[in-house]
Symmetry: D3
Subunit: 61 residues, 6 copies
């Protein structure tokens, strides 16, 4: 069942997502003892103008 | 209050989303005994390159 | 891949969740044309003191 | 740690998101007693055709 | 439609959540120009042992 | 900014979550090129009676 959701700023290449999905799934399988087939990873790009820290949009920095 | 969130790969037509929203709301109202007016359905399209099973991106299959 | 997330106030019985999971999955399969095996439904109970409409907690109504 | 996620229909300007991020962060810091640096606000635009109330898509109203 | 989701460590009192829900809703209504009746705030407590920064669980700090 | 959310069935020990948070953060830092300090991992336990595949609750299997 594990569902892993990764929110990052845009800019990761397809190859980076491919490697990340593999590495995260390996961690969940090896450490969390979940079956690989039941492990899902979902990426969500969050634009800098949609993300704020300490009250300031990242796109304004 | 029920909020239902549906994540699917892109490709569903407007008509399919319309029917799905209706069918899911009916289920929540009839089985879950929630008022229809208070029942929300939100669709989120997840691109195949943002979704992995067993460590492999769906867009690579 | 469809992942459906249902947030409701507590109070639904196990039997109601069982029926809701079945009805929602049927809708996703029949209308959304997704395979049943790849369709997941997750329930999340949200306590009334953790939910507000129009600025007022539901537990205060 | 506070993470605040704001889902709204599209149409808010960059300036509105800037003000909203500031006002929400202030509330979390002043009322919730969280440090500003550790407070994050994420905006997600939800298109009207992806959002239904009472079983009807908002884009059909 | 705005749905605001607030994830914080446990420890906020009912009164703090009440004030936060009010302040956040006011911000969404005044700045985001959404109707109060259509604005929802949901709180989710995240235990420190379920939250990590820089790879370390907050409960280990 | 990366925020990683891990939903799993209950049963993972504190030690397993500690190792998982570390391994996932390492992957995000090394592959995704994000700073460790800005990388967050959140665990959410989902009870088997709140999770269904193919229309059947996991607690009924």
């Amino acid at each position: 069942m594990p569902i892993v959701r990764v929110e990052m700023w845009p800019g990761r290449t397809h190859e980076q997502k491919r490697e990340l999905a593999k590495a995260i799934t390996d961690a969940v399988v090896n450490i969390g003892k979940a079956p690989a087939e039941a492990t899902f990873v979902i990426f969500e790009d969050v634009a800098k103008e949609n993300w704020a820290q300490a009250g300031a949009l990242a796109s304004d920095e």
